[in-house]
Amino acid sequence: MDKTMSLPQAISTYLRNGDTVALEGFGHIVPVAAAHEIIRQGFTDLVLARMSCDVIVDQLLGANCLKGLISSFIANSSAGSLHELRRRIEKSDPEPLWFDEYSHGGMVARYQAGASKLPFQPIASYRGSDLAAKNPRIKSVPDPYGGPDIHVVPALNPDLTIIHAQRADMHGNVQAWGMLGIQTEAAFASHRLIVTVEEIVDEAVVRSDPNRTIVPAHVVDAVVAVPRGSHPHSVQGYYDRDDEFSRQWSALARDAAAVQDWLETNIRGTSDHDEFLATLGSEHFERMAIHDAYSTPVNYGGRA
């Protein structure tokens, strides 16, 4: 079944105002282009689930797409602060943000419970933390096997998850390598799933290396080819990270008006991701070129 479609079509088909949407990717293979398309289409009242925040969180907040955030790390990766986010939390400027906070281990447990269709997941690390005391959704239950009471976190089942990967076939068998984050669990936990990829490849390419598949086609709703869809984050084997862009964002976003100007010019003022990339200039990407490093092929041979 051919699930390929354009990014605008995928977002308008599978996202609704008010949805909880997970955008996952841990500093690598991040669905940035999809976040920008959400801004272009003007969605509102979304709750964003994202373990480790980055520029797209500030951008979605600045564009007034979000009413809430579920996260466990709210800096701009290692590039500084996210000032739009800090204004919302520290000063309710321009309005309050519902913030459901966990640790990374707590977010992993929430996605695992969601993917497994369990109501909650036990977690061993919260004893004595103020996070468990302050967040009413972190609870404890008796251990029916005689141990001490144990903390639990609730299942996270996003309405829509969007992930980015190196490649997929048209059916939606998704292949990724390098740092894989929590994408497989976020995919299985979600009611709907969009996958953006650097390239759509022939099914035979996927079938030549089935262990590389992180999400099988039967959980995927839409497959979208978006080259450089993860910028400013890297894609292993395709392009490097753009640290300068991330650092410049942290500087720019100190000024709320500058965020609005940036969104107006660079996102709302561009029709799609290619046009956005063109604003950066083609020479911009020469700095992000990578060296090839191929793995040794494995032998998948079975009974003759």
Binding site: H28, E101, G105, S125, H151, T184
Partner: protein, 278 residues
């Protein structure tokens, strides 16, 4: 995190390089890296971030702990990057690494699974029992004066690792406090006093390495004690720069300055372009 950057009550300039016996100028970063590396003797599996902790583990591989390995929060183990990584999620860590685990493996099987000997953490505030705050400064959780990045995996590292090493570039009363604004990662004493939840696997913070000296603690109820000062540092200064009544060991030592071999490894082999050895 800018908390320690504006302390105007300094009684001496910390930015002045100190001198080693070989009259070689040693930067504060080099000093902290060398003492962090030496403290890793006898350990095998380390959970660490990029920058100074990565450098410390690399130095330990060349000196006191040849078989030691880093596990990064991004899931990479046995990385052999040709240059220093810019973050724990830098793709440069992947080519030539021993493994890249998904987050489920890293958080469930490695951290919660108690496979880590030493976890390196940082914090905006630490108290005398090694409780750590990386969440906020202020009174109100919902509207703090200054909102910090939050736990990330710090809570899991604290709960699952046998020991935690804390590296603090500037030892000041704003960072070493009597009472935390928020307990992000509880030490073993506070965890034990809580009413519910699984007991942490390890001892919590056992080493704090600062620009003034080294504090240690080894038992659950023990306070951090100043056990060494760097050459030329008055122990009274470390006490003044600590926001609680810091206990000073009766066997207080002066740390051995970085050796020429350690400095040569850092400067010529491990961080030749001085990305982190500022």
């Amino acid at each position: 995190m800018t908390l320690s950057a504006h302390d105007t009550t300094e009684t001496r300039s910390r930015d002045e390089p100190s001198e080693t016996t070989s009259s070689d100028v040693v930067t504060s970063s080099e000093l902290l890296t060398v003492h962090s590396a030496r403290a890793l003797a006898g350990r095998n599996v380390v959970f660490a971030g990029h920058g100074l902790p990565t450098l410390a583990v690399s130095l330990a591989q060349h000196t006191v702990a040849p078989d030691i390995e880093i596990v990064y929060e991004s899931g990479v183990t046995g990385a052999r990057p040709p240059v220093m990584p810019r973050s724990i999620s830098d793709s440069i860590l992947v080519p030539g690494a021993a493994s890249v685990m998904p987050m489920t493996h890293l958080f469930n099987y490695v951290l919660q699974g108690q496979r880590i000997d030493v976890g390196f953490l940082g914090a905006a505030q630490v108290d005398k029992f090694g409780n750590l705050n990386s969440t906020l400064i202020g009174e109100d959780w919902e509207h703090p004066d200054s909102r910090l990045p939050g736990s990330g995996g710090a809570i899991e590292a604290m709960a699952g690792a046998a020991e935690i090493f804390l590296v603090m570039r500037r030892h000041t009363p704003r960072t070493f406090v009597e009472s935390l604004d928020f307990v992000t990662s509880p030490g073993s004493k506070k965890a034990a006093e809580a009413e519910v939840g699984s007991m942490p696997a390890g001892s919590g913070v056992t080493h704090v390495i600062t620009d003034l000296g080294i504090m240690t603690r080894f038992a659950r109820d023990e306070e951090l004690t100043l056990t060494a000062v760097h050459p030329g540092v008055d122990p009274a200064e470390a006490v003044r720069q600590t926001g609680w009544n810091l206990q000073v060991s009766t066997d207080l030592e002066t740390t051995q300055p970085p050796t020429p071999d350690e400095l040569a490894l850092l400067r010529e082999t491990l961080d030749p372009t001085r990305i982190y050895l500022r």
